[in-house]
Amino acid sequence: MRIKVNRDKCTGCRLCLQICTIEHFREINPKKAALRVEAKFPDPGKYRPFVCTQCGKCEEVCPEGAISRVASGAYIVDKDKCTNCGECVPACPVGVVFRHPDHDFVIICDFCMLCTELCNTGALVKWERAASQEAKEA
């Protein structure tokens, strides 16, 4: 399962960031979200959301083996193993591995899909792919 991004539909409301941190931290704090929204104003005047593409680069570079893929396709951070070394942060090609001073582990999307449920413009859409395709990639 993945998240499809229709970038032209994003309006920059950041509802996705709020529900993400409510779900995962029981706090309201967009800086703890596992996705980000880029705003380019005044020119050209566009928003662009970035979400995990499940490329696996974070798992590859993790020196502690703290990041691993699960059946849903998501890369899950083992908070006990993660040392917050930060190797995975620049390794992520879309910039969606995050650190926050409150926590000693990195934040990566677990594909709970709440952001896609609340997104009212279709910028973030739940993308169910054939099980065989998911299995092949996993």
């Binding site: 032209d8 309006t11 920059g12 409301c13 950041r14 509802l15 709020q18 529900i19 941190t21 409510i22 931290f25 029981r26 706090e27 309201i28 704090n29 967009p30 800086k31 703890k32 880029e38 705003a39 104003f41 005044p42 020119d43 050209p44 005047g45 566009k46 928003y47 926050h100 001073p101 409150d102 449920e117 609340l118 009212n120 413009t121």
Partner: protein, 639 residues
């Protein structure tokens, strides 16, 4: 704090540069609910009655509010407050975007600026780091250019509020700009910032906001969002934003055209929502946490001029700078919107001021020699561009208009007061009240002058009879209590009006956030307290019976609507007086429009009665006492 507050209040002395961090006063918030409420209370308590609004004794308040940033739909507002240079009364203005929530994410609920900085500064906040920084490199920049430069210099994730050259030059209807198109436009808050040499505020924060009962809040708000995604109003709202109402307003004879001379615009098809979306739209744009995305980020393309980007025009700017100026191309309306935004002028008062000047030109009260050889004709975008440059830099007769229409009319005289479309010094919103008596009464009695956010009654007027004035006052009183609550909580009002989210639901959210456990009626009572405190404050500053301030310009009763579906409609002065009499009675004020001691005591602000009494303006006791409940709840579509 698990009550929606960030926890810290800042008091910043601009004379000395001293920055004090104080724990946010939870008792004050509980009583006044933040936003407009706390602003009213602090202004009442702290600004001397003889203080010049643009002098060192005025204060400037930035308030992020109790509900903003708290996963509440459209919980995005930040409220600015100071004694208004435009109305000389307590003033406030708010805007959406992302600044309010970000202030709370940085840890701050409230900022109170005192004094005047000896040199231009901007306030820099990056979580615990708070600095007044030299703004000499930004002073003089236009609003949108300044925001861009600050973002380039500090980082994209800083949220910025700036003023433009107009605010620096003390133009009384200057605004504060944020997010490349959100403005706190009304009451001249940008002029107050400029008078304090405060060019901008830049904030970044990474803290969490704690609420009382997140589980219940999440369940309730998620339910509201999912439910309203399918609301029939959602699609047009997302497509057009408020520009949808341009056609509606014209069809219903309330749109202002040619400086409120008439309420029908023959070229409406050239400036409506369809034109905006078809010719100008770049992207839809939302405030923090809002799923309605009413903001339209657009471009204006005019041959011979640079392509410019802006947000809008929304309904108010679209009408006041569109039909009200006789514009015949949506690109021209958008371009004027951009001019005003970038100069840092309120595009509502701005539209009113340009339209007033155009009517003066039409009637020969100002001439080409007054305008540096230019004309000021209906529908000319070039004339508007030149005129605004004169105003923003106070050149020649531009200086007359720098104080808004009321002050300009006082300079020009020769009957121009009749069509200076303002109340208490603030220009009217984009609705003509001659065939909508409740709307006219709303303008007349609003604490900040003729602004629609306190009460908007067009649909009430249509439902209850547009030629009837009886019974309208009680509904206006109710609306003046419920609508300002949104500004008090620092959330947007539109989702209530457009998506049928009830006041009960919103108060339930408030209780999940704060743990206050209050009812809608209790909230309305708080709003009434705020309303009356502002009334007393206005009277204490301006030293007259309240009624003296509550009349519209004479066009409201002398001129009938000359064209369109409202042709021949209008009100008499006797009807206007009748509405005022009913309104004062509904409020528990005396016939002179003065609040009574019995009422102020009932609301728990006895000190305001003492102060009015000393000045000789305390209301005479009402025979039989004040009404037990002020205002009448109105159920059908009445926003």
């Amino acid at each position: 704090m698990a009550n929606g507050l960030a926890g810290t209040t800042l008091r910043i002395n601009l004379n000395t540069g001293d920055i004090r961090r104080l724990p946010t006063d939870e008792v004050l918030y509980r009583r006044w609910h933040g936003g407009r409420g706390i602003t009213a209370k602090i202004l009442y308590d702290e600004v001397p009655r003889d203080a010049d609004p643009l002098g060192p004794k005025n204060i400037f308040i930035v308030n992020a509010g109790i509900m903003s940033g708290c996963y509440i739909p459209a919980g995005s507002k930040v409220e600015f407050g100071s004694v208004s240079p435009l109305t000389n009364g307590p003033g406030d203005s708010n805007m959406g975007g992302h600044l309010g929530p970000t202030l709370k994410f940085a840890g701050y609920d409230l900022i109170i600026f005192e004094g005047v900085s000896p040199k231009p500064v901007y306030l820099f906040i990056d979580n615990e780091t708070i600095e007044l920084r030299d703004a000499s490199g930004y002073w003089g920049l236009k609003s949108l250019d300044c925001e861009k430069k600050l973002k380039d210099d500090l980082g994209e994730d800083f949220e910025i509020a700036t003023i433009g050259p107009a605010g620096e030059n003390g133009i009384l209807f200057s605004c504060i700009t944020h997010d490349f198109g959100r403005q706190a436009g009304r009451t001249g808050q940008g002029a107050v910032m400029g008078s304090k040499k405060l060019k901008a505020i830049a904030v970044r924060g990474n803290k969490s906001i704690q609420v009382k009962d997140l589980d219940s809040l999440e369940k309730q708000v998620t339910g509201i969002i999912l439910r309203t995604q399918k609301h029939p109003n959602m699609v047009p709202w997302q497509k057009y934003g408020t520009a949808f109402f341009i056609q509606w307003s014209n069809a219903n004879a309330v749109i202002p055209a040619y400086n409120f001379q008439t309420t029908f615009y023959e070229d409406i098809d050239k400036i409506d929502g369809d034109q905006l979306v078809e010719k100008c739209l770049i992207t839809d744009k939302a405030c923090f946490g809002c799923w309605m995305n009413c903001g339209k980020y657009t471009k204006a393309v005019i041959p011979g001029k640079p392509e410019v980007h802006l947000e809008g025009p929304e309904y108010e700017t679209g009408s006041l700078c569109g039909s009200n100026l006789g514009m015949k191309d949506i690109n021209h309306v958008a371009y004027i919107n951009w001019l005003l935004d970038n100069l840092g002028l309120d595009s509502m008062s701005g539209g009113g001021v340009i339209a007033f000047a155009m009517e003066c030109f039409q009637r020969g009260l100002i001439k080409e020699q007054d305008l540096e050889g230019h004309t000021l004709k209906w529908g000319s975008v070039d004339d508007v561009e030149h005129f605004l440059d004169m105003v923003a830099h106070r050149r020649g007769v531009g200086d007359w208009f720098a104080g808004g229409t009321k002050r300009a009319a006082a300079k020009i005289g020769r009957g121009s007061e009749k069509f200076a479309m303002q109340v208490k010094g603030q220009e009217m919103s984009g609705y003509d009240g001659r065939w909508a008596p409740g709307m006219l009464l709303s303008y007349m009695t609003a604490d900040i002058g003729a602004h629609h956010n306190r009460s908007w009654t067009i649909t009430v007027d249509m439902a209850e009879g547009r030629e009837r004035v009886e019974g309208r006052a009680k509904i206006v009183v109710y609306l003046q209590h419920i609508r300002p609550l949104f500004d008090t909580w620092c959330i947007c009002r539109l989702f209530w009006g457009e998506l049928d989210i009830t006041p009960e639901e919103i108060v339930e959210s408030l209780n999940h956030i704060t743990g206050w456990g209050i009812s809608v009626d209790q909230a309305l009572r708080t709003s009434e307290m705020i309303w009356n405190l502002n009334r007393c404050h206005y009277m204490e500053r301006n030293r007259d019976n309240g009624r003296a301030f509550d009349y519209p310009p004479a066009r409201a009763w002398e001129d009938k609507i000359p064209s369109g579906p409202g042709k021949g409609k209008g009100l008499s002065l006797a009807q206007i007086d009748q509405m005022l009499d009913e309104y004062y009675a509904a409020r528990g004020w005396d016939k002179k429009g003065n609040p009574t001691r019995e009422l102020l005591q009932d609301l728990g602000i006895d000190y305001a009665a003492d102060n009015l009494e000393k000045l000789g303006f305390l209301g005479e006791p009402i025979p039989g006492g004040i009404p037990p409940v002020r205002g009448e709840k109105y159920k059908p579509k009445a926003f």
